[in-house]
Structures are given as C-alpha cells and as structure tokens.
Symmetry: C2
C-alpha cells in the first residue's frame, strides 16, 4: 500500500470486479490517492456525545465525524449506544459495560483491518472468528490498592482465519489495527471537567 | 473507599435509602467487603466473541464474564454489537466503527466511574453530559507513513457535571476510570492467529 499508483493499476486491470472480501478496493485506492495528493484528506476526527441516565446507565450518540477533508454528510441519524453494569456491581445489565465495549472495539478493529488490508493486497479471506478476553483486578478501580492498575492488566485475542495467505502475513495485516495501537500503547487523554 | 467498614456503617445508618445517584451503595460495599475478605472476589474477566460478516461489517456477541469469584449466571442472552465503516471508506455505515466504539467505551466509563465513586462518598450528582473526540491521521493505518501512529494521536474529553462537589474532586473521581487507564497507558495485548 506504499505505492498507491501501482496498487491502483493492479486493480484497474481487473475489470471484472473491484471488490475483494466485500471491500470496494477502488474506493480505498481513491482514498489513498487523495491523501497522497493532499495529506489533509487523511486527517479524520471521530466524536461521541454522552449523557448519564441513572445509576450505571449512560447513553452515547454518535453521528458527526470529519474525514476526507470535510464534515460527513452521509449519516442521516445518530447511532445510540448504551452502557450499563451487571447486577453484581449494582447495574441493571441492560447493555454491555464499558470494559466489554473496549473488547468489542479492539477485536472488531483487528478483524476489519485484516480484511481491508488483505483486500488491497488481493488476498481472499473466507472467514474470521475471534475470541477476546480481558483480566482486571477491580481493587484498582475501587481505590483499594494503589499498586493495582485500574484497567485491564492483560488482554488476549485469539483469531481463526480461513485464507490462502500464511499466518505470518495475516498477523502482520491485523496488527495495522488503530485500536490495537491505542490499547497497546500509551495515548495521553486531555480531560476537562466543568462543574455547573 | 479505603475503609470499607466505616463506609458500610455510614450507609447502614441511613435507613431510609441505600441508593445514591441511583447506585445501590450497599451492594457496592458488599463487593468491597467481599474483596477485603478474599482478593479473588475482585478478579474479573470480561469477554467477547466476534465474527466477520462481509466487507467492513463484523459482529460481536458478549455474554459470559467472571466476577465475584464465579462465572456469571445472570445473563440469559448475549448482547450483540455490530461494527461497520462509513461510506467514504467502503463500508455500509450500518453501525459505528471501531474508533467510535473506543470513544463510547472511554466516555461511558469515565461517566459511570464518576457516578459510582460519588455515590459511595455520598456526593449527589444531578447530571453528567460529555463530548469526546479523537483525531487520527489515517496514513498510519494505511501504511503510508511509518512515523504516523495508527490509532488516535489525540483524544479530548469535556464533561459538564451538575453537583455540589467541587470540580477538582469530581475530576479525581472520574479519573478512576479503567478505560481511561487502558487508553492513556500502555497495555500489552497478546495476539495469536491461527490460519485454518
């Protein structure tokens, strides 16, 4: 994917179909070419708004984002995501909790990244199925032990992929995942709280 | 929350209600006491299974988890979460993408953590509303620039809280968030891929 012109030529030559793994490769190459011409095309910003409902329940609305040099105009309505807590920790268990959303974000990102990178390289993927688990010692969250971290202390992802490509190549493609980067590496979060 | 006995006494003495901010504080104190008696009670594990559907669409199922020294037996059916991509990047935009799930995980966790920690300290919260945004330069994800990180390079959270407590205290409580810990600090992810 480092040479977008060559990649484009490869797929333009395949006149029968520009879709690999259900991914429109021409469209991805269009994005790559646009970024090559103007890096601001590749500056994306995603956003969410959240409102606390009651107890363990809160709700995010997700709609606007910036990508391809402009504010998105294709989404007509927001996605709504609830977060709640299981009964053991005084929630109503009406939705996954935030830790489970992290796991979904990570495994969905590694899957999508694998499928897209494979598509651009013309590697057919037949199936991908994964299991992910995260361990935490909740003494950190509860403030019961300063030497225990608050979040997961261990995350394991196992992925089964049906493809002709070898496991090493497939692993390399999955590890382009942005959420893998976010979770595995440090990322300063700016936080400002206004009391009203 | 470091002295669970004292906290419990405080809330046992309030016979009218054990609920603050809609959180059953007696239940949270029961969890704290159980962990104090046996740290294995506080070893939690959350999990998800994911299956690629087609193109940018994949789907997680979330049900089983380990908490309080046992496998959970309260959830009768799984939560299902889809991830998809916007049209610009060749998706059908049927669901939020993985980056947006990270933002939801982070803001929902900071909100829930604030509300729970406030409840245990008998701090009433009237409302919490937040905005979160994450910037990324997709050249990292696309393999177009080695010096550009793949995930967000910047995340900003702004939170408005209606409460009698001061902003400094409220900020301190929100920063107990496990997902804030995961995103802001590094966390090695074990990844194994099996080709079938």
């Amino acid at each position: 994917m480092n040479n977008s012109a060559a990649t484009t030529t490869q797929y333009d030559a395949n006149a029968k179909s520009n879709s690999v793994n259900g991914v429109d490769v021409d469209q991805i190459n269009h994005v790559i070419e646009s970024i090559t011409a103007d890096t601001s095309f590749g500056q994306f910003q995603f956003r969410a708004r959240n409102r606390w409902v009651n107890g363990g329940l809160n709700r995010s609305q997700i709609k606007e984002f910036h990508a391809g040099g402009r504010e998105d105009g294709t989404r007509s309505k927001p996605f709504t995501l609830d977060a709640d807590e299981p009964q053991l920790v005084a929630g109503n268990d009406s939705a996954p909790n935030s830790m489970e959303y992290v796991l979904h974000a990570l495994v969905s990102c590694m899957t999508g990244t694998l499928v897209y990178h494979a598509a651009v390289r013309d590697i057919a993927i037949t199936s991908v199925s994964s299991h992910i688990e995260g361990d935490m010692d909740v003494r950190g969250l509860l403030g019961m032990a300063d030497d225990v971290r608050k979040g997961f202390n261990h995350v394991r992802v196992t992925m089964r992929v049906d493809s002709d490509a070898d496991a090493e190549t497939l692993t390399e493609l999955a590890l382009y995942s942005p959420v893998y980067d976010i979770v595995s590496k440090s990322l300063p979060v700016e936080f400002s709280l206004e009391k009203i």
